[in-house]
Symmetry: C2
Subunit: 334 residues, 2 copies
């Protein structure tokens, strides 16, 4: 018997607009002086993977924090739901207090999140984020339970039910996660859906450069990157990198911080201005939320300029406060 | 052998300025519409004690949240430390993730917090806080491990080492906590120190009215209350209640929201203006932080008007963002 609470499929057979897959993390954010970045040996502005001992040491050095659900693709999916989109998420937490927080926040955002928590292995992953006075965020990720995510965790029905499957590049690191990535991508394409990818961080790109290049060319329909990431992918300067992307990807979105973004296709280049922000407090999640606006727009069939505008709105909404999740309904801002 | 890391005592033998005792909680805050308060059956603006089932039900109904260390006296003590004061705290968490968060945040604020976590019994307590668009906070407290706090948890040396022992009225509810309260108060007075109390909430006052009246008259040197609380204590209108307090308490501080506060003694009445705030986001912790400024000032021997000014500064610093802990150094705001 069909689930009476299940959403009715649309004309294209989808019950979801965007399905995200990524590392399920809770962020721990503290505001620190510039000197902290040096004294703690952090790579400013980057995402660095850390193990248990380093996480303990770094947390002890950090000032008082706030805890907010995070995870790059999870932030994006929460944003899609906040725009009113039908959103689903796959990722792994542990059966502990932070895992409960993560699951609560996804479901409270209206996201279909049913991945069962792990009951063995490391605790729920967390990202220790240092925010400096320039509002830049420096991320240090203890993957915890999210490091267990593998192909068996890819819910075939969920992926096939979504118009767009969105994958975070952070995932594309461990072999098991790569296998999960490839499986999800295959399922989506077999079902006639789109695959979107964010390059996430230059370290992700550089660590697996050859694989990334094949992957982007062969299986990505929508690509998200910032300037440094797309330059790293193609090993050339921005202008040429954008031209290369136009030659092999359907839609490429390049974020440029306060300079807005570019959305390019083989046929056109759309320049998107940034939305004005009165005071930038914490840039954590800016790229994630930009992607939420674009993906929501694409899933609704909106013109690229409008997709980009939604991206800028979502990014501006999240950088005015601490934490990477929108503090208000994004639908009300459009 | 003395601890080589222990702070050197001042001339009066103290190593701490303010020692706080209260319920050690982690706050879970979400922004909700006014209609949520009704549909969830909340008592707007108040603090309500809830049990496990109700906490689970209410959390499920709440939107996405942020987690921040809280607890009324703990917020005050974090504020004292943020002003640069020497601060200590006694309260009980469980040995779990939220307990680690609470302990980290106290120590990261520079607070001497060494209460061992419980290893049996309920998990770390939390306060589910609904913030409405008018910035009012409605609190629903699951005491958890903090309900185990009793006289054995009162560290005699710590209390005797502080110039002022600050007790939250929320504590004065269960018999064990009352016994802890009386023990701490006795230790402080025997050591020649001051005892400060906040009435916390009208429900606290009304539930134990006769005991409160004796307690305030006989053992409180510094009293904090808002208008409703002091009226509840004396069962008369504000003006008369203030006069009654002047007759039996050395220093009484009455907070009046946007109208500032009064600090009254048998000899004088000092009117303290509120500090201007550009946008009030969340009033959680306003009273707690006001107390931190006054207590810090008193412990440093500052004039009452200056103590009140510090209180207003701290309160204004915390109501401009979500959560009850200062997001910046209060010392830098003075």
């Amino acid at each position: 018997m069909p689930d009476p609470h299940a959403p009715s499929p649309r004309d294209d057979g989808t019950t979801l607009d965007v399905v995200g897959i990524g590392n399920a993390l809770v962020d721990v954010l503290s505001h620190e002086d510039e000197s902290f970045v040096d004294s703690a040996g952090l790579v400013k502005g980057a995402m660095t993977l850390i193990e248990t001992d380093r996480a303990t040491e770094l947390y002890a050095a950090m000032g008082p924090g706030i805890e907010v659900s995070g995870g790059s693709a999870a932030n994006t999916i929460a944003g899609v739901a906040s725009f009113g989109g039908r959103a689903g998420y796959l990722g792994k937490v542990f059966d502990d207090q932070l895992g409960v927080v993560f699951g609560h926040d996804m479901r409270a955002n209206g996201v279909d999140f049913q991945s069962p928590p792990a009951t063995e292995g490391p605790p729920t992953g967390r990202c220790l984020i240092v925010v400096t006075p320039d509002a830049e965020r420096t991320m240090n990720t203890f993957l915890g339970a999210s490091s267990l995510f593998g192909p068996d965790d890819v819910d075939e029905a969920l992926v096939a039910s979504g118009r767009i499957t969105y994958l975070e590049g952070y995932l594309f690191d461990r072999d098991e996660a790569k296998a999960a990535y490839r499986k999800a991508s295959q399922i989506a394409h077999d079902a006639g859906r789109m695959v979107a990818l964010t390059l996430s961080d230059t370290f992700c790109v550089e660590r697996h450069l050859d694989e990334w290049r094949v992957l982007v060319r062969e299986s990505v329909d929508v690509l998200f990157a910032n300037e440094a990431e797309i330059e790293a992918l193609y090993g050339v300067q921005l202008h040429e990198a954008v031209e290369r992307a136009r030659g092999e990807v359907g839609i490429t979105c390049v974020t440029r911080g306060p300079n807005g973004s570019l959305i390019v296709t083989p046929d056109e280049i759309v320049e998107i201005p940034a939305e004005p922000v009165s005071a930038v407090v914490d840039t954590t999640g800016a790229g994630d939320l930009y992607a939420s606006g674009v993906l929501h727009g694409l899933s609704q069939g909106l013109p690229l300029a409008e997709c980009g505008r939604l991206g800028s709105i979502a990014a501006s909404a999240v950088i005015g406060h601490t934490g990477a999740r929108p503090g208000q309904s994004l639908a009300q801002l459009t």
